[in-house]
């Protein structure tokens, strides 16, 4: 039973953002601390606004222990409405999912969040009226379908003063110039052009306003099928080979239509497989990768392993942890996606062929693979601004349906699939395998994944550029002047102060020396470990014939039923990929060159920071990777202070461009959950398994034996 001091009556008011409205509240709510099954916790007020659910601790006055890493928008006891995953009510010790209308009101309310926090509120001491209001309010606002315009995004945008940081280096890909610059950066401008055909969304509402196609593609063909069947450029490799994507035709019943589509595709393929274009390889991702449904199912099972109610739960699932993990299939999907990306890289890098990724809409798995390929091949994508630009290019402007995939409006669960999270998980594998190669940290990826559910940024709250543009123009609620001005998530100062932002920068990242153009070429060839590969790859005969012989076959498949891989198709030596992979891994890594993830079973890991960060049992006091990171940060700080001292000795001005380094004094006892350990266990008692496995059915005979069989009874005589 609960044995806690009487609640102190005190007026605590929620901190509201501009445009945020208090919808309902309840007092004397008891929030359990998620720890060791005890009933410890605290009393407070539970409120629901049009932005968040928030618990206001009655004795939260002692705020001198400000965490070093704090989100300015979403506090430790705040849950944005979009972050709510599922709500359960507890009735007579039984958990029941709460969705729509409620008849009975529960004694306890458990909220599972999409960032994997678990909140457990006891409502037994709350007035019945307030219970009714708060429970139905929370369920209604977080779990029922919503109109786009009712998203907090709009209230915030119309109420908040917009003083966006103009210094953002992220390329937004909203202008023609952005695309042209990208073409120039990747030297793709010889064979590819940025087009304005979609101005006014004439071609399609799904396509971005500006995009890039092969120079030889005419405006008419782009317009013909709303952009379907048109290869759209993603990126050009240093050797000229390009990564393209294409939205496939839906399966057509009508024969004449499909004949026409076939002829159309035929023409397109002919144009883009002629010189100057490289040979073309295709990959129909909808058949060579798991479906969105598979991904959604896997993740749903996977996340369940981390939504832990209590200590008993934790240890009960620990016994069969590995097989539980495996049965979710999530790690296997990550492995397959990484493998696919390696295949594409091999085609681009070694075979120097263009690769065309095909998918129904070209906005889901196409985004995952094309982003991964660029992260692996283009070291610019491993800088913070480069990665952000990549996300803008492939996802935000590229037309990934964030609104539907995250089911932000609760419109249809069928559309929900954690595609973007899959990308972040894959990138994390690379980040942890090659720590010095990335300018950002895993913490950056974690907070980026959290930002998916913070509806003050427009970044992840539209399905397409068209949708954003049309909703932006202010048929505003009030007589507001001009269009909405949305914030972008890439302005990290909105969520984090300078000190906290420093945790997003990787202290191990060794910046690439900025070369001028001539140097760049030489440095590149120096870095190309792939050039020293065995030349067994050069079998042009089979590859040259590949396209022409297969064209018909391919087109048939693109039009209708799909077959397996075109990349790595049967006629290729099956071990060429393996050779590429092995050969690359047998050489020292160039952190500014090509990066290939290791994908053998033991190498694919669980992203512990994102998934275990709220679980007290999983906490290591003074341990984890943060322990070494803290030492590095301390040393960097020391080096920097020495630098300053040196400058002073030289009686020069104190240098201004010192990179800010997080301050981690007294850091020796940081928790491994840092910087997210908000619910730190106070005790330093070790966590002890409460349930362990004992039986070894299959080895019964061995189990029963003694270490050495010696009859000791004889010793007694």
């Amino acid at each position: 039973e609960i044995h806690i001091k009487e609640p102190i009556e005190k007026e605590v008011n929620p901190r509201l953002l501009p445009g945020e409205l208090l919808l309902c509240e309840a007092s004397t709510v008891y929030k359990y601390i998620q720890e060791d099954g005890s009933n410890r916790g605290s009393y407070g007020k539970l409120v629901c606004t049009n932005f968040k659910i928030s618990f206001l601790d009655d004795d939260s006055a002692s705020d001198d222990n400000e965490p070093q890493f704090k989100n300015k928008i979403v506090g430790e006891n705040d849950i944005t409405l979009q972050c709510v995953d599922q709500i359960y009510g507890v009735y007579d010790e039984k958990k029941k999912l709460l969705t729509g209308q409620l008849r009975k009101y529960p004694e306890n309310l458990i909220i599972y969040c999409k960032d994997l926090r678990v909140f457990n509120f006891c409502l037994r001491y709350t007035k019945e009226e307030e219970v009714k209001r708060i429970v139905s309010g929370i369920v209604h606002h977080s779990q029922t379908p919503k109109l786009l315009k009712r998203l907090f995004l709009f209230s915030y945008a119309s109420a908040a003063p917009n003083n966006t940081d103009g210094r953002n280096q992220t390329v937004m890909f909203e202008t023609l110039e952005d695309w042209r610059d990208e073409l120039e950066r990747t030297k793709g401008n010889v064979k590819y052009k940025a087009v304005t055909t979609n101005e006014g969304y004439r071609v399609s509402e799904k396509l971005p306003l500006y995009f890039v196609v092969p120079i030889c593609i005419s405006e008419e063909s782009i317009l013909k099928y709303e952009g379907r069947g048109i290869p759209i450029w993603c990126w050009s490799c240093h050797n000229g080979a390009a990564l393209l994507k294409m939205s496939a035709f839906p399966k057509e019943q009508d024969d004449s239509t499909s004949q026409m589509q076939k002829a159309f595709l035929d023409g397109i393929y002919k144009t883009i497989s002629k010189p100057p274009y490289e040979l073309l390889k295709m990959d129909d991702l909808s058949s060579s990768l798991p479906s969105l449904q598979d991904i959604q199912t896997a993740y749903t099972r996977f996340k369940q392993l981390f939504l832990i109610d209590n200590s008993t739960d934790f240890w009960a699932t620990d016994v069969k942890w590995f097989s539980l993990l495996e049965s979710t299939n999530w790690l296997e999907i990550i492995r397959r996606v990484l493998k696919k990306a390696i295949e594409v890289v091999e085609c681009l890098e070694i075979q120097q062929t263009n690769v065309l990724l095909i998918e129904e809409s070209a906005t889901d798995l196409c985004c995952v693979i094309s982003s991964l390929v660029q992260v692996m091949m283009d070291s610019y994508s491993r800088t913070k601004s480069g990665f952000q630009s990549l996300i803008q290019k492939e996802w935000v402007i590229g037309g990934h349906g964030f609104l539907d995939r995250c089911n932000h409006l609760h419109k249809s669960e069928k559309e929900e699939a954690p595609v973007f999270l899959l990308l972040l998980n894959c990138v994390w594998q690379l980040v942890q395998q090659y720590p010095p190669a990335f300018e950002f940290t895993e913490t950056y990826l974690t907070v980026l994944s959290d930002s998916l559910y913070v509806p003050i940024f427009s970044t992840f709250f539209f399905n397409s550029q068209h949708q954003r543009d049309t909703n932006k123009s202010g048929e505003s609620l009030k007589t507001q002047s001009g269009p909405f001005r949305f914030l972008t998530v890439w302005d990290w100062s909105v969520q984090f102060d300078c000190k906290a932002q420093a945790f997003l920068n990787n202290p191990l990242y060794a910046e690439k020396p900025k070369p001028d153009k001539s140097q760049r070429k030489t440095s590149r060839s120096k870095h190309q470990r792939q050039l020293s590969l065995p030349l067994t790859q050069a079998k042009p005969s089979t590859k040259r014939g590949f396209f022409r012989e297969e064209t018909d076959h391919l087109i048939k498949n693109i039009l209708g039923k799909r077959i397996g891989k075109f990349i790595n198709s049967s006629e290729e030596p099956p071990n060429s990929l393996r050779e590429f992979y092995d050969s690359w891994h047998s050489k020292p890594v160039d952190y500014h060159g090509l990066l290939l993830p290791r994908i053998d079973g033991p190498e694919i890991k669980v992203w512990a920071q994102r998934y275990l960060r709220w679980i007290p049992e999983a906490q290591l006091h003074g341990g984890g990777t943060i322990a070494t990171a803290a030492k590095i940060l301390d040393l960097m700080e020391e080096v920097q202070s020495l630098q300053v001292k040196m400058d002073e000795e030289h009686s020069q001005a104190v240098s201004g461009d010192v990179h800010s380094v997080p301050m981690l004094r007294n850091s020796a006892r940081l928790s491994s959950l840092f910087p997210f350990a908000l619910l730190q266990r106070q005790s330093v008692k070790p966590a002890l398994p409460t349930s362990t496995w004992k039986d070894l059915e299959d080895e019964d005979d061995l189990v029963k034996r003694d270490d050495e069989f010696v009859d000791l009874s004889g010793d007694m005589l």
């Binding site: 341990g623 080096v639 030289h650 034996r705």
Partner: protein, 603 residues
């Protein structure tokens, strides 16, 4: 296995193999070109073979056998494929194929190693070509079975440090603050008269006489009486170790043993019960009664609380490691890696051992009671538990020398049967006495160092080196089953200690991230969410899995350290020049040494 890029074996090319040969790059390669050789190491034989590399296919090479190692160098590959295998790691040598076997490379030797790999060599079929190599290998890999000395006894290496000086039981007990008014040192086991598997020097309660000890010995399996392993500097609670009591089917009791345990209980000045951790599963402890053993019953020991820790026996551990090898060698299980790993139970056993040790450590540091640990004989699971608990409680053991002391004390001097468990120089590869208990302990230590990367002075290489020389027989450290036998064989006089090698080049084994922290209990989380397969050890032979060396994070840290030192040096120089320029003003600038002390207070 055959790969297009590697040359196929062609028996004709072996014809003039003993003569001079020229490599691709044009350098002459003499047959007598130096292969690594230790002082005291002599070459016995050599032969042209095909090394059937499971990762790169057949490799043509020449194998050299000395009295210490098997060394293979490929003749055609660039860079050369090298195998450098101490004969001590060999567990079993089998002939594969017969003189009439068909098929390429089907005739030769298959060598099973104790360090998670197999080596296959194919030889020419004509003229019993493998007979002498088989005989030489068998003779030198299994010296004990051929009345030969271990290589450790002919090794003439010289080191700047003498590892035999690392552990002195008296000074280790003094470090712990012993003897004191409650605990005394006894010489009752001088010449191993009381117990031939214990060290000669023991620490026992002050209030127990040597006569008492003798009576207790009669009631403890193999006379392994409860003695002190470690005392908590503040709570005075102790970790005691022993073997099982000889309770037997009839439930025998022994007043002296009961009284002795009570004396132990009282010695920490608390009135609470004595906690006994029996490392075995409950059922095994019960089953042991049939052979005269058992556990401390409630009736006989009302002042003690008994817990079973459910750690399985040496046979279960051996099978588990065998299964682990199956899924990682030669190829890593492709599909269903996680469930395959789970089915070996290896990490599950690690979890149980760690969990047990955490319980022991927690009990002692909470100060409420002293702890007695035993299993059946008290030299396998008991050693794991006491040494791991000590590692958690006493930061001294997390230093390089401290860890050496810990191994020397809890494992070597207290009679972990290294000779039987490893089977040093013994050809009976199927001996049921063999078991990877010490490996399991080192794995637990690795798990801890992985969870707390700044808490240990030593690095992963240190642990791997210990394991490599656990088998190599190059040092006397792990030879024989007990201190008594080692004394008889004059091991410290006639052989070198592994710690000589390590302490002579300590920097190689030092963890740059180590932060010294005194008196801090370190509890690992014994959850499968944190336990990992030690890839760099168990899968180290697989070139596809091998981790980046050196570790990039470590490398970056070392670079920063060098940068810092460089700045400090330059700053010092600057200050000297500046000071000489303005000879009278010196108040404003901080001297680098002052600054350093500021910086060091971070931790």
């Amino acid at each position: 296995m055959a790969s297009s890029s590697t040359p196929k074996y062609n028996s004709n090319s072996l014809e003039n193999s003993s003569s001079k040969r020229t490599l691709k790059d044009g350098t002459n390669w003499e047959q007598n070109e130096e292969i690594p050789r230790l002082p005291g190491e002599t070459r016995v034989t050599d032969k042209d073979v095909i090394y059937m590399c499971p990762f790169n296919g057949p490799v043509k090479g020449r194998v050299y056998i000395t009295n210490y190692r098997l060394y293979l160098r490929s003749v055609e590959n660039d860079p050369a494929v090298i195998l450098n295998v101490p004969l001590g790691v060999i567990s079993r040598i089998e002939k594969m194929g017969g003189a009439s076997s068909r098929g390429e490379n089907s005739y030769g030797l298959d060598i099973t190693c104790k360090d998670m790999r197999n080596l296959r060599f194919a030889l020419k079929q004509e003229g019993h070509s493998r007979r002498d190599i088989f005989e030489v290998l068998t003779k030198y890999a299994f010296p004990q079975s051929h009345n030969l000395l271990f290589f450790a006894f002919v090794n003439e290496e010289k080191f700047s440090e003498n590892g035999w000086m690392v552990y002195n039981p008296m000074s280790e007990y003094r470090r712990q603050g012993l003897p004191n008014e409650r605990w005394r040192v006894t010489f009752i086991n001088e010449h191993y008269r009381l117990c031939d598997t214990y060290p000669s020097l023991l620490v026992v309660p002050y209030n127990a006489t040597d006569d008492d000890l003798k009576k207790v010995a009669a009631f403890r399996s193999r006379n392994r009486i409860p003695v002190l392993s470690w005392i908590h500097p503040e709570t005075q609670a102790v970790i005691m170790r022993c073997s099982q009591p000889l309770v037997g089917m009839s439930g025998k009791r022994n007043k002296d043993d009961e009284r002795y345990l009570d004396i132990i209980r009282e010695a920490n000045g608390q009135i609470s019960k004595l906690t006994i951790y029996d490392a075995r599963p409950n059922v095994n402890a019960v089953a042991n009664k049939a052979t005269g053993g058992g556990y401390e019953g409630e009736d006989a020991y009302p002042n003690a609380e008994l817990f079973f820790l459910d750690i399985h026996n040496i046979h279960v551990m051996r099978e588990s490691l065998k299964k682990l090898k199956d899924i990682v060698y030669p190829n890593v299980e492709e599909s269903h890696w996680l469930s395959s790993l789970e089915s070996t139970h290896w990490l599950e056993h690690i979890k149980l051992v760690l969990t047990g040790a955490i319980q022991v450590a927690d009990k002692v540091s909470s100060g409420r009671s002293s702890v007695l640990v035993h299993c059946s004989d008290g030299w396998d699971r008991t050693a794991q538990l006491t040494s791991l608990a000590m590692l958690m409680l006493d930061s001294y053991y997390r230093t390089i020398e401290g860890f050496e002391v810990l191994v020397q004390k809890e494992w070597i001097s207290f009679g972990h049967k290294f000779a039987s468990r490893i089977g040093h120089g013994d050809k009976n590869h199927a001996d049921a006495d063999r078991s990877p208990i010490f490996l399991q302990f080192i794995d637990c230590v690795w798990q801890m160092s992985k969870q707390f990367p700044t808490a240990f002075e030593f690095n992963e290489q240190f642990l791997i080196t210990i394991l490599d020389h656990l088998y190599s027989c190059r040092f006397g450290t792990f030879l024989y089953n007990s201190e008594f036998l080692r004394e008889k064989e004059k091991v410290t006089e006639k052989t070198l200690s592994l710690w000589s090698l390590i302490n002579s080049e300590k920097s190689k084994y030092t963890n740059p991230f180590y932060s010294k922290e005194l008196n801090r209990a370190l509890y690992p989380v014994a959850s499968m969410r944190h336990l990992e397969l030690w890839v760099n050890y168990y899968i180290r032979w697989n070139p596809r899995i091998r981790q980046q060396q050196p570790n990039p994070v470590e490398q970056r840290y070392m670079e920063l350290l060098a940068l810092r030192d460089d700045y400090i040096r330059r700053l010092e120089e600057l200050q000297i020049t500046n000071n000489s320029k303005i000879s009278n003003s010196s108040t404003s600038s901080t001297s680098p040494s002052q600054m350093m002390s500021q910086v060091q207070t971070h931790f």
